[in-house]
């Protein structure tokens, strides 16, 4: 997945796949906190602009109602 992201121009560092058992609550919290920190440092995704611009389309509004 990371290699495919890199090929499409998205920083592979933005993807994390980790196996955490349902019995490991604290570890899950730690993994997520660390990754959130990392993403914060990387800054907003270059895809964010196009996505937020497209969110409030008519299609979405009618589906929600």
């Amino acid at each position: 997945m990371r290699k495919l992201l890199a090929f499409s121009g998205v920083d592979p560092e933005r993807l994390l796949l980790k196996w955490v058992s349902s019995a490991e609550g604290p570890r899950f919290a730690q993994v997520v906190t660390e990754f959130t920190e990392k993403i914060r440092i990387l800054g907003p995704s270059p895809l964010a602009d196009s996505r937020t611009a497209k969110q409030p389309t008519a299609g979405m509004a009618s589906e929600a109602s």
Partner: protein, 275 residues
Amino acid sequence: MIEQVREHVRKLLTDGQISAFLGLRNQDGNIAPHIFEKPEDLDEGFTLGDVEGRPPARYPLAKLLMTIVSADPDKKFGILVRGCDERALYELVRWNQLPGAAYRFVKVGFACPQELADEHECRKPFPDECVAGEKAQPVMNASVKEIDAKALPERLEYWSRVFDRCVKCYGCRDICPVCFCNVCTLEENALIRTGDLPPENPIFHLTRAAHMAGRCIDCNLCTEVCPAEIPLRTLYKKVAEIVQEDFGYVTGEPGDAKSPLNFLGPDPGHTSAHD
């Protein structure tokens, strides 16, 4: 070339080695897949797909065979194959979509000319056994190297621009000889919002690309049919490269190796045509 193929098929039908032949027929200038049942049918419009002044018409015959074979379990069929059709057959066999393959169909192969191989950047423009045609040289992945040479932001800019042309006609999926699932992620609203044009990018295209891992046999039909001229196959070629590097799996080869993405799933012999 066409005469050699036609006479070969005629013999198979006359000798009773096959009950029918899945090939292509030219009807009033339109070429479409056709099942030839009698030797004399071959005298009406039998074609290899050639059209004056255009690349030859190709269809995912392997996928059609899947349906035909499951609808008529007692018969043995012949099928017209180029290199790509044969790769699709090999891959469908590995994915348990053509049960009893060895005694269910007979391939009638012919080689593509170099010109076509170049145009499609074809990795093997001929089947293992050819009734007709000269084997052309395989062509390597120049389109992938072109993208690899770009910097990350340039790649994103490039793909965003081409993906945004997508009209979500699902043509790429429908024509694909190895897209055989009955339920398609691309139509799941929870995963990819339906009703949006262009579709959510790059999610729509990367999802299809990920699903082609260990499956795409590199026939280039998707790119050929795409009305928006999106170079889809370049993406899938890259995916194939990754699967080969990381798992050592190459699609479209004979044998019963399992794709690294096919370890879970239904028992051998189950085909989606039976669902």
